[in-house]
């Protein structure tokens, strides 16, 4: 039987990171994945990641995937693709399917990094073609380059629903609404805001009543839910759509761990069973680890660190790294991981209402209910200061782990500080040169450059813009406010696309002076 020091099951962010880390300590590593391409969900992620530099913040998911793969290959990791693992047996025997038959392998250690699958929701008509998981829609768009439909309703306002919703608009679909049975937007406020300002309405406390159509989806009826999740009579609303995307969470793919006999437990009754793991991801079976989403749903950024933690632990276990090396490395990785577990979306805040930011400022309820900030509350936040001349307006109002804006500014105008969940502060005494690096660097697209007086009683607004075709200088259009409502005519005065901006173009348009604090998006053509 072919033997490896480490066998990793799943070539996603956790699995590739685990393999890379272990190989860097000298382990002979094999990775098995059922897909034709490695990377798991990473290659579908076309948005810029959050976090700090060490979490690969402001790099797009697919570029992180490429980097990881290159690193794994250069370290001699063997990656078997189209090779689903069909069984995990005693003594860490791994059985994988290859094109024409099955083969048995033995891992001295095994890391299960099988990720998660999308949850589904049943309603009348849910089996009609056109109802699909948001992740499936994302695969269609970003991997297979086909749009899932023309008019789409998104059910779920967590980060998956918000990010895929935005990508649907980028792909040219019309997103008719984002709805959620919960009373508050579940994902990052900045993700919601970038969708809302394009004109997409949010319906919170709403769910799908039925999908309509006979042989495919032709429409959807949604309704408002009361406190006991029942539809309130008379609250129904209809939309003509051909696609309904479901983004109601993920379930860890724990089957292999369960089959291997690892202890499973529920964090709370009914929450779903997870493998019982040590801090390094080791299960109740010595040398068998669970890493990434399979051990509990988080973001890809955490999965990559968890993978490395299990990778170095496996290296220590087999004697490839001495205790001191392992401890130093684990400490560094655990510090990086704990930074991602802070802030408003920290695991301990899950399901809770947090009234104030760490700075003691109100967390915008308007943002949680509508997907965007109210005009009169923007100025409360430390990234928003009204001074004359060109300067950034940082509409970053929730404590999320992210700080690329701080490093982006060549003039040190923006400070987040050592605690990366702190809200960015704009220092109005520093000299902003209007370079726009911060606008492009903000993974949440929440930084705008404004100049309150460019002459002729006009002001300018520069927005991050990730849609094609790019507008051109001189194009006449309409400025939209944070809700996506047209507010005034706006002429494009500049379009900047630089390699350093990594596909986030900077669109500058002019508006009447009294509108520059409201205008946050631009659409071609006159307002209807």
């Amino acid at each position: 039987m072919k033997r490896y020091d480490l066998i990793v099951i799943g070539a996603g962010p956790a699995g590739l990171s685990a393999a890379t880390e272990a190989a860097s300590h000298g382990l002979r590593v094999a990775v098995f994945d059922e897909n034709a391409r490695p990377g798991g969900q990473l290659f579908k992620q076309i948005h810029k990641f959050f976090g700090s530099k060490e979490h690969k913040a402001k790099i797009r998911g697919y570029d992180i995937g490429r980097e990881l793969l290159k690193e794994a290959e250069s370290l001699g990791v063997e990656v078997f693709l189209n090779a689903p693992v069909i069984g995990l047996y005693a003594e860490k025997e791994v059985v994988a399917r290859h094109a024409d038959g099955v083969r048995h392998y033995k891992g001295d250690t095994v890391i299960v990094a099988t990720g998660a699958s999308e949850n589904m929701l049943t309603f009348e008509g849910w089996t009609l073609p056109g109802v699909m998981g948001a992740g499936a829609a994302q695969t269609m768009m970003n991997i297979n380059r086909v749009t899932p439909g023309e008019r789409v309703l998104m059910l779920g306002s967590g980060n998956v629903g918000l990010v895929v919703g935005y990508q649907l608009i980028q792909a040219g679909c019309e997103l008719v609404a984002i709805i959620d049975a919960a009373p508050r937007v579940g994902g990052y406020g900045v993700h919601a805001a970038k969708v809302a300002r394009t004109g997409v309405p949010f319906y919170l406390s709403h769910t799908v009543v039925r999908a309509e159509g006979t042989d495919r989806v032709t429409g959807v009826t949604i309704g408002e839910v009361d406190a006991s999740w029942q539809i309130i009579a008379g609250s129904e609303k209809h939309f003509d759509v051909d696609t309904i995307c479901i983004a109601v969470g993920l379930s860890p793919s724990t089957q292999l761990l369960k089959m291997a006999g690892a202890d499973m437990a529920e964090p709370a009754a009914g929450a779903g069973f997870l493998p019982v793991c040590s801090a390094t991801g080791e299960t109740s079976i010595s040398g068998l680890y669970a890493s990434g989403d399979v051990s509990g749903i988080e973001e890809a950024s955490s999965a990559m660190i968890e993978g490395r933690i299990s990778g170095v632990a496996a290296a220590g276990k087999l004697g490839f790294a001495d205790a001191e090396t392992v401890e130093t490395r684990l400490n560094a990785l655990e510090t990086a991981l704990s930074a991602l577990h802070e802030g408003l979306f920290a695991p301990r805040n899950r399901g809770k209402s947090v009234p104030l930011t760490d700075e003691g400022i109100d967390n915008s309820q308007h943002l949680l209910k509508n997907g965007y900030l109210a005009d009169d509350e923007v100025a409360k936040y430390p990234g928003v200061k009204r001074v004359s001349g060109v300067h950034p307006i940082i509409e970053c109002t929730q404590n999320i782990p992210c700080n690329p804006c701080q490093d982006a500014c060549p003039k040190q105008c923006i400070k987040v500080g050592a605690n990366i969940v702190a809200l960015p502060v704009f220092d109005e005494t520093s000299a902003c040169i209007g370079c726009g690096q911060c606008v492009a660097a903000c993974s949440g697209q929440s930084i705008f450059l404004v100049n309150d007086d460019i002459g002729d009683n006009l002001a300018s607004v520069t927005i991050p813009y990730e849609f094609l075709p790019l507008p051109e200088k001189g194009d006449v259009g309409t400025a939209l406010d944070r809700s996506g409502t047209p507010i005034c005519a706006a002429t494009v005065t500049d379009v900047r696309a630089a390699k350093a901006f990594d596909h986030t173009s900077l669109l500058t348009f002019s508006v009447p002076r009294d509108e520059y604090m409201r205008a946050r998006f631009w659409k071609k053509g006159a307002a209807v």
Partner: protein, 105 residues
Amino acid sequence: MSAVDRTRDIGEYVPAQDDDMIVCRCEEITKGEIRRAVHDGMYNVHEVRRLLRCGMGLCQGQTCARLVKSIVARELGVRSLEDATARAPMRPIEMSVFANDGGGE
């Protein structure tokens, strides 16, 4: 697998409006069939699966496992329920491929 308490009274099966809704798409099993199976004495997901084959089709329960579990739990009036047993082959596989066992070669 934990022992099943069959002495518990879960009441009579009461037909519901959405009983004809398909839950397991691969095997075309409806919500009503699953609910009735519980009232017929299948007090956990393993037994429901053996009786109805829900979760044993092409997707191996990727879509419906969680849905079936929640229906069974609600019918039994419990919050927590064990998942179905995980067995090889973990993914659908043609018999010709499965039989071509190269062992450790």
